[in-house]
């Protein structure tokens, strides 16, 4: 059951901050690099406890990413902290060469992902990171759905040989994975199975997927929910199993539909089990200022939007 009491909700960036601190305590090789967004990314929690292993770069994301390579090549495990737009976009080519091409253990915490950044508007709302990062060979891309998962993902990413991009958010979310112990990068979290369709979601949209599944259930429709926290390497087996069992897929992400998580899922399905797919996400547009949940509604990322997509996909399923 999801706790709807918002006072219990926590942001995934806080999970990242907690993860960094636990890592720092256990492993002297952890270093944290920050590009002037130290409080916002929660890198400050690590800095306050391990000031000698914290490095400040000012507003210079490109320099930060390549410097991380120097650390990684010297046996350290760097975590680079900035907002998603800058970490994945501004420094994309540095990430391409310094992290992905060299295939070294550089971890990138891109906070303020998605439209729920809110009032700062389009310049600061990252809607492209999944696309930009999953495109790169060797890169893992993780989109945690709550604080607990974000903390686990952060800790797990330190143990991955190659680079990892963690997409984190500013908005507080319910603790969906409370009590779930099976987190592993690359292994989808099956929240519930369904015979009629399966909703595959990541990040904040896992919450909405569960709510959509609940309302579909009230109408007699069995909608499974998969929390696809790792967009890359993608859990093919889980996706194919759901497609075979339920015969229809809806994807839901707080990201552009183009080249995002839904596209990654479709790449798997189209080649192996081509069931009908409907995608919920941001449609070829930038964000804008507004309160986070108003924007979610305006951009059609609500549980109701998933329900509409579910009904569309069921119609297509019946006619194919």
């Amino acid at each position: 059951m999801i706790n709807e009491d918002r006072s219990t909700w926590k942001a995934t960036r806080d999970g990242y901050g907690k993860g960094l601190v636990s890592l720092g305590r256990e492993n002297e090789r952890i270093v944290v690099l920050s590009a002037d967004l130290t409080e916002s990314t929660r890198a400050s929690w690590f800095r306050d406890e391990f000031p000698e292993r914290f490095f400040s770069f000012g507003v210079a994301e490109q320099d930060m990413m390549s410097t991380a390579a120097g650390f990684a090549l010297s046996g350290k495990i760097p975590f680079c902290c900035s907002f998603g737009v800058f970490a994945s976009g501004r420094a994309w080519e540095q990430v391409r060469i310094s992290a992905a091409y060299m295939n070294i253990n550089i971890n990138i915490g891109g906070s303020h992902g998605g439209i729920t950044v809110g009032p700062d508007g389009a310049t600061h709302q990252a809607l492209e990171e999944i696309a930009l990062m999953r495109l790169l060979p060797h890169m893992s891309v993780v989109v945690p759905c709550d604080l607990i998962e974000a903390e686990r993902a952060t800790i797990a990413s330190a143990g991955i040989k190659g680079p990892v991009y963690l997409r984190l958010g500013r908005e507080k979310l319910p603790l969906i994975t409370d009590g779930y112990e099976g987190f592993e990068i690359g292994k989808a979290h099956i929240i519930r199975e369904g015979n009629d369709l399966t909703i595959i979601a990541c990040g904040i949209m896992v919450y909405h997927a569960i709510k959509a599944s609940d309302s579909l259930k009230a109408e007699g429709i069995g909608a499974g929910v998969i929390n696809l926290h790792t967009v890359k390497p993608i859990d093919k087996a889980a996706i194919l199993k759901a497609a075979i069992k339920s015969g229809a897929i809806v994807t839901a992400e707080e990201h552009l539909i183009a080249c995002g998580m839904g596209s990654a899922v479709s790449e798997v399905l189209i080649q192996e089990v081509p069931v009908p797919v409907e995608m919920v996400g941001v449609k070829d547009r930038f964000g804008e200022s507004g309160s986070p949940w108003d924007l979610i509604e305006k951009l059609n990322l609500m549980p109701e939007d998933i329900v509409i997509a579910a009904k569309r996909v069921l119609k297509r399923k019946r006619t194919t």
Binding site: F55, A60, S66, T67, A69, G70, L73, I97, S98, Y101
Partner: protein
């Protein structure tokens, strides 16, 4: 360390130039002018200054060299082969399919510390290594060779600020200042004006030398090592295509390899 005999270095540099031209010609492509301008600089580092073990290239106590101007890698490959990091025979595989001697340096080839070639990134990588060495309380020194066209890249100046901010006196950058880039003379493509003043203003110790003079290069490397609390940059005045009359100072030779007849002429000049 005792300074090697200059006469011998000069002879060996000639041989390196022959190796570089031959491998570029066999590859049929590559950066001839940019490789020939940094022969003395890279060769001095490996002959005199860097601590390394060619038989154990990942020896923990080694110094680091980052070739940020990755397109000059034929020179680095020739020097690494000369010092036994891999067999000289491998030079023939430059730019061939399946080779470790990629068109721009890639991790995996013994002696390569970082994959470079996308300009502007190497100094940041070097900073990371210098910071890491300091964290580990090691006396590792880190060297980074930059192209002069390369410093058009904004990231170089971000890295310059970082090195000064962290007082990285275990870092020494070198600019291969040959005054030419692909499109022509630096002053025409994008005038960098007074480099010494620029780097000083960014908080660096600056040494200006003739980048083909072994004595000046080795002395400047010694001086850099003695500077405390700030990084040093050696602005090395060089000649693009140095050593071959018809290649020298020609921007069009930036990114092409000698054809067989040109190779023959060039080797004759280096006899």
């Amino acid at each position: 360390m005792k300074k090697p005999d200059i006469g011998k270095l000069k002879e060996q540099a000639k041989q390196l130039r022959r190796d570089i031209l031959t491998m570029l010609s066999e590859a049929g492509s590559g950066h001839t002018g940019s490789s020939l301008s940094c022969v003395e600089l890279i060769f001095s580092l490996y002959s005199y200054k860097l601590r390394y073990n060619a038989k154990d290239p990942y020896w923990e106590e080694r110094d680091r060299f980052i070739l940020s101007k990755g397109h000059g890698c034929p020179t680095l490959y020739a020097v690494l082969a000369h010092f036994g990091f891999f067999l000289k025979d491998k030079l023939k595989t430059l730019r061939q399919i399946g080779t470790l001697l990629q068109g721009h340096p890639q991790l995996g080839l013994p002696g390569i510390e970082a994959s470079t070639g996308s300009l502007g990134q190497g100094l940041s990588v070097a900073n990371g290594m210098a910071l890491s060495a300091r964290l580990d309380k090691k006396d590792t020194r880190v060297y980074c060779l930059l192209g002069d066209g390369e410093i058009n890249e904004g990231q170089v100046w971000e890295a310059a600020m970082t090195a000064a901010h962290y007082s990285l006196d275990n870092l020494c950058a070198i600019i291969d200042y040959n005054k030419l880039q692909i499109d022509g003379f630096l002053c025409d493509v994008k005038d960098m004006f007074e480099l010494t003043k620029k780097w000083e203003a960014f908080g660096w110790n600056v040494i200006e030398i003739d980048g083909h003079d072994f004595t000046q290069i080795m002395d400047s490397l010694d001086r850099a090592e003695k500077v405390k609390d700030k990084p040093t940059i050696i602005i090395a005045h060089t000649i693009k295509g140095k050593g071959v009359s018809f290649i020298e100072n020609k921007a069009e030779w930036h990114g092409i390899a000698p054809k067989p007849d040109e190779l023959k002429c060039a080797l004759r000049e280096l006899d």
